[in-house]
Point group: D2
Chain length 320, copies 4
Amino acid sequence: MNTIGILTSGGDAPGMNAAIRAITRVALAKGIKVMGIQRGYNGLINGEIFEMGRDSVSDIIQRGGTVLKTARSEEFRTPEGREKAANMLRIFGIEGLIVLGGDGSFSGAQLLSNEHGIKTIGIPCTIDNDIAYTDFTIGFDTAINTVVEVINKLRDTSASHERVSIIEVMGRRCGDIALHAGIAGGAECVIIPEMNFEFDSLCRSIIETKVLGKLHYIVVVAEGAGKAQDIAERIEKCTGVQARATVPGHIQRGGMPSAFDRLIATKFGATAVEVLVEGKSQRVIGIKDSKIIDIDMNEALSIKKTVDKDLYHLANNLSI
Amino acid sequence: MNTIGILTSGGDAPGMNAAIRAITRVALAKGIKVMGIQRGYNGLINGEIFEMGRDSVSDIIQRGGTVLKTARSEEFRTPEGREKAANMLRIFGIEGLIVLGGDGSFSGAQLLSNEHGIKTIGIPCTIDNDIAYTDFTIGFDTAINTVVEVINKLRDTSASHERVSIIEVMGRRCGDIALHAGIAGGAECVIIPEMNFEFDSLCRSIIETKVLGKLHYIVVVAEGAGKAQDIAERIEKCTGVQARATVPGHIQRGGMPSAFDRLIATKFGATAVEVLVEGKSQRVIGIKDSKIIDIDMNEALSIKKTVDKDLYHLANNLSI
Amino acid sequence: MNTIGILTSGGDAPGMNAAIRAITRVALAKGIKVMGIQRGYNGLINGEIFEMGRDSVSDIIQRGGTVLKTARSEEFRTPEGREKAANMLRIFGIEGLIVLGGDGSFSGAQLLSNEHGIKTIGIPCTIDNDIAYTDFTIGFDTAINTVVEVINKLRDTSASHERVSIIEVMGRRCGDIALHAGIAGGAECVIIPEMNFEFDSLCRSIIETKVLGKLHYIVVVAEGAGKAQDIAERIEKCTGVQARATVPGHIQRGGMPSAFDRLIATKFGATAVEVLVEGKSQRVIGIKDSKIIDIDMNEALSIKKTVDKDLYHLANNLSI
Amino acid sequence: MNTIGILTSGGDAPGMNAAIRAITRVALAKGIKVMGIQRGYNGLINGEIFEMGRDSVSDIIQRGGTVLKTARSEEFRTPEGREKAANMLRIFGIEGLIVLGGDGSFSGAQLLSNEHGIKTIGIPCTIDNDIAYTDFTIGFDTAINTVVEVINKLRDTSASHERVSIIEVMGRRCGDIALHAGIAGGAECVIIPEMNFEFDSLCRSIIETKVLGKLHYIVVVAEGAGKAQDIAERIEKCTGVQARATVPGHIQRGGMPSAFDRLIATKFGATAVEVLVEGKSQRVIGIKDSKIIDIDMNEALSIKKTVDKDLYHLANNLSI
């Protein structure tokens, strides 16, 4: 392995830069040349490729987003697009490609390997934590800390007005942000796509806690399980208690990465280089039971993400 | 002056607690009894009144919201409601009332003074900074710091995706949050209700800066001047550049108050007590040209808030 | 199990309140009475014990420190002291005691169990992460985030002056804070008590990176491995490069707990109640390989904490 | 005015970058060439000068420190050094020089003007706020927010242990950081160089508040008025209450600038360019009574900074 390439693809996640830094520094220490590819698969097709030195990754560990930028690529979905991409990799002498992104980005990497024999390694980066083979994806810990901070701010004003606050967080199919941030934020109710939810019992609980003198009631809902604005309106109508919706939106993707995200990103990045050097391909890196692992990309993509039901029930028990 | 009352009314603002603390401690030091009135004018009418000791305000200086809670009161808008309120003040022996809130809360205080001879003092608390007689209202500095933090987080992800970010901030009639946070956050464009705005020139600027290689373009819009979602859609349609809307909403009202807000809140609170002790009534406290002032409530309510045009033009010059 | 007691002992750690909240709410939901014991074993001896309702733990999940307060107790080290403590537990009908603290606090719990048959459960709380049987202690994640934030602030000023910054962090025998925060903060050098360290090679590295144009050089040292001030003076003398020492001290113990600490604290607290209900005693709760575990207290105290050498070497590789 | 130069000198202060950005963008908008001078007067002497475009100041408004770096210069204190500096300015065609720094930096600018006819403008940047002619210096608001955050963190742990916390903050001759942060942080005692202080009355107050059941007692001391460690030891000895010292040190210089600092920095920078364009020299920019001012450098340096005694007495009244 003389030259490797790095690209970030799909939605950005805080900690991507820490992974880029670790890949670059560990590879350089092994005498491997590192090429940064800008704007994901799109930039690869267009040849937006430049050599990275140790300075290219100075002072980036603390920055959100990705210095390599990211983009979605329609062209890469076609065999022709992937052929162009493979050509670019050959032209620039890139023998192994490390892809930072989510499920979709890994599928792209897999096609590139299958069709053109490129060695690819995936690093899971998504704030949603919706990838099943790994306990944590890069960006998730930062996102839940961001949401917890949002809940803190809303709690002040919500308690002063004795209102219900409904916070809609990211997570289309996966309620992990809502569940973890809800528990950590001390939310009274968590609504996620994986679990049934009874609106009437929420209203009953709001009224009961109000009667007990509780000043605020916080509901965290994953975007895949409902719209905050709708829920707020229904609550007001049903309970007569004021309810306000907040949608932090893209704030959740940004911000300085947490220590945890920087640490796993650093370990994932270092491991990705080692796995490539060992000659492996089509592997994805992750953390399982506190250990850094690499598993087959195919297998990884086939594992179905499930929700931690115990944690969900704990959330409800704590709000009583 | 043997006994004073404090109430917080209207929307809450970070720093209200610092003012409550200063009023309480300064009054107690002067041998004056302090009564806390909960839930604004509504609570006053209902007799939700309790004596405050120095412990009642321990460890609250750093907390957002208001420990006295706040509420809007329809009943207080009627002469009968205000009579009930005046009776409560008499029953509890409250000779002077300090009202923390905005314009509307001051109007209420004025009616109470005019109709029932109650001595009232107003302290300006609103994140919007929409009160003309004072350079700063309590809560404004915290709110702009919160928005600046939001801009920081959006900048990361916005730059990674090379998108336009539109952030809709509070301010129905007054663009101060948008203007100050926009400049401090390094926004490329600020849209406020007080100034005309040309959509085409925004689009031209987005395209020009894109061509120059700029990775992100941040627009801050006051809620009174447009909806972020609409603007995002129009920008995408007109320029072809991806645009994303974020509405931080009630987050802007919450959070730990900034040092500046705690300081002016402390000074305003201390001054309010002194002004009451001097026997004055119907005065509002403020800060003008770095000096703490008290002026006639009537006069204060008649001054029209204007925007700082130089600052607005500076915002535009800096984005070039 | 009709009544349980909770006490916090030794140094405080962010997240203790989240654990107290979970214990209280989960126990109440099971119909168990909860008694809060103030000021650790000292308060237990003195009978500083009060019943806790669900309101006692409202709005504490986000607060650092411990609402039960903590103290060291000389008297509890004597058999007479422990007899008094056991009497108090009997008087107040406390059948099971949950102790939040570190090694020393667990030893106390064990003696109480052995000598007086009290059922005890330990929950590991210490920012140092110096307890071997668990992957993480409550407070550690918050502490490393605090140190990472300190490093961020120092980086700004350090780079502007092109100085070396030496940050002395907590950890007398255990370098985990230094190691994790050092990597996450992008430090160039980490000095911990568990590993030998060559001063000359540090100086060489400072000079080499200076020559390469690097603006700052950050050293994180665990208090057990050296004094920041001494190291700064030696570096200046040896390299001629300006060096500044910073000792964040007790800041590391404070602050709002991170999402991660709140989550494990919540899980540990809930599990501690369940383990007590199952009739077990002398168990400590922890997290191992992502699973919440309970193990024998004796066994737990006998496991020796070791440093993650791979992580230490990774830290050095990344700084090249 | 065809070409201007910018340099940052002395200690760095958060907000310097916002001023550099404003100077650059406003000057470029007026068709003036901008030269950045690195490492203060030292870099000027050495010709470390480069042309700045609008991109040179992209994404720096939110960063602490100074992108131009700073250094102290012995050589510039000599007439020969200043002659070299003046030559460099001529060689690079710099007609007007904007100096960001404190008193010492302004004296240097004055000598350059007097001896070599260079047009100079000063912008006050120092976290200490020790410059008399301006109400605020750039960096002060950020520093007090940083100290307030430190106090918050210490309060948690201090209250849990019922200890006295002594925080030593920057300010050799000027107690403004201690005074403002002390009030905003709710400190019980503020010790500053400008005011006499009785140690016995501090001890009496500690004991009195302890008896009243107060959990913590926070003392903020300016470095020019005492060492935190000494004070802690004396308190323990005299009162028997545990006391802990914390010295945040250079943390106070770093961090993201606050909104307020970014705003005044932006205004100061824009005004500095305008003043130069008007042909003025030896002026310093500031804010007085909420207005941006420029006054004669000589006069500015002769005004003696005094402490706000009312504020000092308010601090004491609030702690009762």
